[in-house]
């Protein structure tokens, strides 16, 4: 649905060149909710703004439903933009216009007739739960309500894509949850592809199907939410995942490793489904000449699947432990050794 093809972007300001994006290639599939996370300045906004041409790439191309933006002229791009709605961190509503007029605006721009506008705006305001606020002005609304107006406005033209740039960053946690629920509902009801940017992993865990992690203008990791959360590969990925998963190796385990003179075999095991963990461990003790000792464990929910995280010590010969590991492999269990410098 959205395809970034080797996109690079340089900003030149007063002789200073910033590489905001470096050779980014990404594909967002139709109907999915795709998240982009990264620290401030990573290039997330620059990337999402390429989709509706608020920004144009220095090199590379962006394709929307197969159509190249680089090869399109201004008029064609305007037409493409009608298929793309966007919501903003600071809502960007017109303060001089009522909620009704704000939502109607994209339709007015297209010259849709009054009756049709009325029908559509009423339907949208009901959908976002603001049916009674149509005559209010934005400054009479709470942040959450303003974002609902923003969402209704973005959906007015029945777009196929919805872009969200930090759409919940200005909202409190409870309101954030409500807005995320609404976005999920939009995705499911209308099958709209959602590309969202956030620096909060909890947002990604809540609603995304897939996620890309950006750092210094590059996509450094990409995968399903389950894969990234259960097995982040990069340090940045790990630190983002740790903000919500609390997968850090506990202090006492590290201490154990540091203080013990002989080699110890401590592993992190990740289980899908909470019931899967214990049977495998008891199998391990039965099958191999090792003792298992669970040092730490927790269970979190990931895309509605319980996800277990155990830190286990295998006490036994190195050779035996090696066969345990290949057994774990055969059971498709994700594991990694906990070393002294583990994070």
């Amino acid at each position: 649905m959205i395809e970034f093809i080797d996109v690079s972007k340089q900003f030149n300001r007063k002789g200073v060149t910033t590489d905001a994006l470096k050779n980014v290639s990404l594909k967002v599939e139709p109907g999915e909710i795709f998240g982009i996370v990264g620290f401030s300045g990573a290039g997330k906004s620059t990337l999402i703004r390429m989709v509706n041409r608020l920004e144009s790439p220095t090199t590379g191309d962006v394709k929307i439903a197969g159509q190249s933006l680089e090869k399109s002229n201004t008029k064609e791009i305007r037409t493409i933009k009608r298929d793309i709605g966007m919501i903003f961190q600071h809502f960007n509503l017109l303060d001089s216009k009522t909620v009704y007029k704000n939502v109607a605006m994209p339709l007015i721009l297209q010259g849709v007739d009054k009756g049709e506008i009325d029908r559509r705006v009423t339907e949208l305001l009901d959908f976002v739960g603001l049916g009674d606020k149509s005559k209010s002005y934005p400054d009479e609304l709470s942040g959450g309500q303003k974002q609902r107006v923003g969402i209704a406005r973005a959906l007015a033209t029945n777009p196929k894509i919805l872009l969200c740039d930090e759409a919940t960053s200005a909202l409190d946690p409870e309101t954030t949850t409500q807005i995320l629920e609404l976005l999920k509902e939009i995705n499911q009801t209308y099958g709209i592809t959602i590309l969202l940017i956030t620096h909060e992993m909890s947002v990604v865990r809540e609603i995304c199907d897939r996620v890309a992690i950006m750092e210094k203008g590059r996509v450094i990791e990409e995968g399903t939410v389950f894969d990234i959360f259960s097995n982040p590969k990069t340090d940045t990925g790990k630190s983002f995942v740790n903000t919500v998963m609390h997968n850090e190796v506990p202090e006492f385990v590290l201490k154990l490793l540091h203080e013990s003179p002989e080699e110890r075999h401590i592993y992190r095991l990740n289980f899908v489904d909470d019931s899967a963990g214990e049977p495998v461990l008891s199998q391990v003790s039965k099958k191999f000449d090792v003792e298992t000792s669970v040092l730490f464990g927790n269970i979190t929910q990931l895309q509605d699947i319980p996800f277990g995280n155990l830190i286990v010590e295998f006490i036994g010969q190195g050779r035996e432990v090696a066969s345990v590991l290949s057994y774990l492999d055969s059971r498709n269990i994700i594991y990694s050794e906990v070393t002294r410098d583990a994070r």
Binding site: N52, I77, R82, F91, S96
Partner: protein
């Protein structure tokens, strides 16, 4: 007092005519110029730095000439436009030359106050440059425009009084010919009071209008 009440009333009407007519012409010229300044600025909707710079310099030149100088300096032009260089009509020409660039500047500054987010939203919706100005920028700036137009019209009241000094008619003329040249203190006082009332009235009206627009 050397002048009749009728004379005072007719000069008030003259002033109102001069101010309102020159105000309308100034808006007709100044508003599009202000919009042009706004859209051509670097990084703005049309992004035409060359046009912007030329326009900017021309407006600065006009803005740096005091009204009393404009009044006399453009007499040939005034004569060319209205066929005479004295009287109410003749005063309107320099008043417009004085106020239009001023209004262009005020319009530009009002439009620049509009939040970038609004422009971004317009752009994201695929609005054309004309739609962006008409549907987004002007409505959002309207309340501030009204305040700035009030400043401009009060400036014109002052200018109209000055135009009186060269026989432009109106309250200013009265003050000069009777109050100043014939030492009629009462007429002088009356004209000053009239001007104060006009300025106060316009300012209050502008404030109220601006507030109503903001809070419809």
């Amino acid at each position: 007092m050397l002048v009749s009440t009728d004379r005072i009333i007719s000069s008030v009407i003259e002033t109102l005519q001069m101010v309102s007519i020159s105000f309308i012409f100034s808006i007709v010229i100044g508003l599009p110029l202000g919009i042009l300044l706004y859209v051509t600025r670097r990084g703005q909707i049309l992004d035409q730095p060359i046009i912007f710079n030329v326009l900017n310099i021309i407006i600065n030149i006009f803005r740096s000439v005091p009204f009393i100088i404009i009044l006399v300096a453009i007499i040939p032009f005034t004569r060319f436009v209205v066929g005479t260089s004295i009287g109410t009509e003749a005063a309107i020409v320099p008043m417009v030359v004085y106020a239009a660039p001023y209004i262009a500047r005020l319009v530009e500054s009002s439009l620049l106050e509009v939040d970038d987010g609004v422009l971004e939203a317009a752009n994201a919706m695929g609005a054309t440059p004309l739609q962006t100005i008409v549907r987004f920028v002007l409505p959002e700036a309207l309340s501030s425009l009204v305040i700035n137009f009030t400043i401009a019209i009060i400036g014109l009241v002052g200018a109209s009084a000055m135009a009186g000094a060269v026989g432009g008619g109106g309250v200013g003329d009265l003050a000069i010919t009777y109050g100043y040249q014939r030492f009629d203190g009462v007429t002088m006082l009356v004209t000053v009071v009239i001007l104060i009332v006009m300025v106060q009235g316009l300012q209050s009206f502008g404030n109220v209008l601006s507030k109503t627009i903001r809070r419809k």
